[in-house]
């Protein structure tokens, strides 16, 4: 039963992935001028002889003499069969090389933020719902509002400013200067921890705020339901009652909305890492966008969107495991 469900969901993904790739191909093609003209201009600008045979080779490799839809097929074929995402003009290296250097850090930080977000939001949400209108409920709600209203980049700037003025340490980058080129060691790891914690906290805060609100509202709804009253009337201990049903019900929508939380986290990661100059995709993608280095920008978008789609799939499978109604094709929500 579960196997069938997973297979069905996987098949549904294929058209979505194709659609995403088409959208991104269009975005890559949006700026005036194509791959080759930019390449030639760049070569001429740097005073290099434009190698004719090189141009013929590139034309063939990317199908640039063919109509646009064929170019799309060449582009996709190169990605799938050779892992070739095109070339970055700005860095004069294959995009795949830049991606392999920086993408793991981006994904790692985003996933860590997701875990931290849940770790903070779920307990606070439970507390706020069970202690509605208490002092701490108001405090958490206030913090939540601030988290929603202060954009990540501002929060990054303000916190770095305060840390800088109070301690004189500039917490930008993932490693401090003396460890930047050092090999991995325990000291380097310890040095990285506060910086990592800062990034993860800043990225997570706005998501946490929304999630606390959601968790609180869901749980409050559940707590009013009759089965809770029945359980309480039977004399079930409050703690057991809470954990047995309402919390499980309230956590469900969080799992099912991973698909929307992940893009939010990656967006946040990008901006915050630009401010904090992290060694992730954020800073280089920003520069790629400004200089219209579209293959680099597009490839990042493509990978991140595909990962999100896969993340949604995983969340759907998790949900099917947690919630038997979905597995048996019952209620969708």
């Amino acid at each position: 039963m579960l196997g069938n469900y997973i297979l069905k969901r996987c098949l549904q993904l294929i058209p979505l992935l194709i659609a995403i790739s088409i959208v991104i191909f269009v975005i890559i093609q949006l700026p005036p001028g194509d791959y080759l003209t930019t390449y030639i201009i760049q070569q001429e600008a740097s005073g290099l002889e434009v190698n004719q045979s090189n141009i013929v080779l590139l034309t063939k490799q990317y199908g640039l003499d063919k109509p646009v839809y064929m170019q799309y097929f060449y582009w996709i074929r190169n990605i799938i069969t050779k892992g070739d995402f095109g070339r970055s003009f700005q860095w004069s290296v294959p995009v795949s090389q830049l991606l392999s250097e920086r993408l793991p850090a981006t994904i790692g930080i985003s996933l860590l933020s997701l875990v931290v977000t849940w770790g903070i939001a779920i307990p606070i949400g439970i507390y706020s719902a069970t202690h509605q209108y208490s002092v701490f409920d108001y405090v958490f709600q206030f913090i939540g509002f601030i988290g929603l209203a202060v954009p990540g980049f501002l929060l990054a700037l303000i916190s770095v400013y305060f840390i800088f003025t109070l301690t004189g340490v500039s917490l930008t980058g993932l490693h401090s200067a003396e460890f930047l080129n050092a090999a991995w060691s325990w000291a380097k790891f310890v040095d990285m921890l506060p910086r990592l914690a800062l990034v993860v906290f800043i990225i997570g805060l706005s998501q946490t705020a929304g999630m606390i609100r959601q968790m609180r509202a869901m749980l409050l709804d559940e707590l009013q339901k009759q089965y809770v009253i029945t359980a309480r009337a039977k004399g079930l201990k409050e703690k057991k009652l809470l954990w047995k049903y309402p919390i499980r019900m309230a956590v469900n929508p969080m799992i099912s909305t991973i698909g929307w939380t992940l893009p939010g986290l990656i967006s946040g990661e990008m901006i915050v890492s630009i401010i904090l100059s992290m060694p992730t995709m954020g800073p280089i993608v920003k520069r790629a966008m400004i200089t219209q280095d579209m293959y680099l920008a597009g490839s990042f978008l493509l990978i991140v969107s595909c990962l999100t789609v896969v993340g949604t799939l995983i969340s759907d499978i998790l949900l099917a495991i947690v919630d038997p109604r979905i597995r048996f094709g019952g209620v969708a929500e």
């Binding site: 929603l148 700037l157 770095v160 003025t165 939010g264 901006i271 966008m289 400004i290 978008l301 991140v304």
Partner: protein, 369 residues
């Protein structure tokens, strides 16, 4: 009148849906604070020429990067002067050779209301030189929030930037509304293949991280275009991605309304699709749309400022809160000139207020509460 009194007087039963909403909205404490503040902010920025003490491009060359000048009423000896700021003595730091600004003990710059300052054209219509509040003598060094690296008054620039930022979100919401309402409405009403296509499109957009997508679209925007076109293009880009939430709300509502008796009755009487949607369905879920729109204003403000801050949204010379924040990209600048962060305060306040107002509206529009 309290709710009970209204019930007694019989006004409650005959009150329209909007009236009921308004009563409930007024009872929401945060929202009733937020709404006047939003109105004040729009008033300040709409008439920013009048309320700002200076002009956005006017340079005080002597006062480059001058810190904010706090307003006093009494001087050191306790004599009352009315509002004034101390004149600045310009010196040099003997160690860093940076310019320093020190309050002079005996020279003051008196401030007043409706003072004569730099000439401007109010809304481009009539010329005047009256400013709401400022230095009584023209050219007096009064900088409520300091000056930037070119010696321009930051408070003035924030007000002018607010005009762009706060109107930008409305324009963008208008486009969002247009796309979301049309696609969501048609998708719910027609169903079938059209519905499937729109729903898949929504899935597609929601699965892409919005900031990089905005950045990519903004990056593809032609560079050499007029400020107005850039403004419109940016707002369309924001709405191209933002319409999905509204479309889902509209579709859900239409789906549930489609089966209602009054819709069937309208259809049997020969009303066309457009008429049924606009005349019969729209009024019954308009309140939800307004709630959804108010909820998406903060996201639009944050998106615009983030993009402009990164240099991919609105570009200088357009003044918006985001472009103003471009000045504090590095920690060093922020540490040396913290007052450059004042635009951020305005962003946070406006987003908070819109959030509160949105919450109040949502509660007010929910008839079961």
């Amino acid at each position: 009148m309290s709710l009970k009194k209204k019930q007694k007087a019989g006004t409650y039963e005959v009150a329209s849906q909007w009236k009921l909403m308004w009563w409930k909205f007024k009872k929401h404490r945060m929202a009733s604070i937020a709404l006047p503040i939003i109105c004040i902010m729009y008033l300040l920025t709409m008439c920013c020429e009048f309320f700002s003490p200076s002009l956005p491009l006017e340079r005080y060359k002597k006062y480059v990067e001058c810190p904010p000048t706090p307003i006093h009423l009494w001087d050191h000896e306790g004599t009352f002067h009315g509002p004034f700021v101390y004149a600045k003595e310009i010196g040099r730091d003997p160690e860093t050779f940076r310019k320093t600004f020190v309050d002079s003990e005996d020279e003051i710059v008196p401030l007043g209301f409706f003072v004569h300052g730099s000439k401007y054209k109010f809304w481009g219509l009539w010329e005047t030189d009256i400013h709401f509040f400022g230095a009584k003598e023209s050219g007096g060094a009064y900088f409520l929030m300091g000056t930037d690296s070119l010696g321009r008054d930051l408070f003035t620039r924030i007000l002018y930037g607010g005009r762009i930022s706060l109107s930008f979100c409305l324009v963008s919401i208008f486009f969002t509304f247009l796309i979301g309402l049309t696609l969501g409405g048609l998708s719910g009403y027609l169903g079938g293949i059209f519905d499937t296509v729109v729903q898949r499109a929504i899935d597609l957009i929601m699965s892409m991280p919005s900031i990089p997508l905005w950045m990519a679209l903004a990056a593809a925007m032609p560079k050499e275009i007029s400020q107005l076109r850039q403004y419109l293009l940016m707002s369309i880009i924001m709405s191209l991605i933002g319409w999905t939430g509204l479309a889902r709300v509209v579709r859900g509502k239409i789906l549930s309304l489609r089966e209602e008796d009054f819709v069937t009755a309208a259809r049997l009487s020969g009303a066309g699709h457009g008429r049924i949607i606009a005349k019969h369905m729209l009024p019954s879920f308009l309140s939800y749309i307004i709630v959804s729109i108010t909820g998406s204003i903060p996201a639009t403000i944050l998106g615009e400022t983030a993009l402009s801050f990164l240099g991919l949204g609105l570009q200088a010379p357009t003044i918006s809160w985001g472009t103003l924040l471009q000045d504090c990209q590095t920690v060093e600048t922020v540490a040396a000139k913290p007052w450059l962060m004042f635009p951020a305060l305005f962003i946070v306040i406006s987003v908070l207020m819109f959030n509160f107002a949105g919450d109040g509206l949502r509660d007010a529009a929910d008839p079961y509460k």
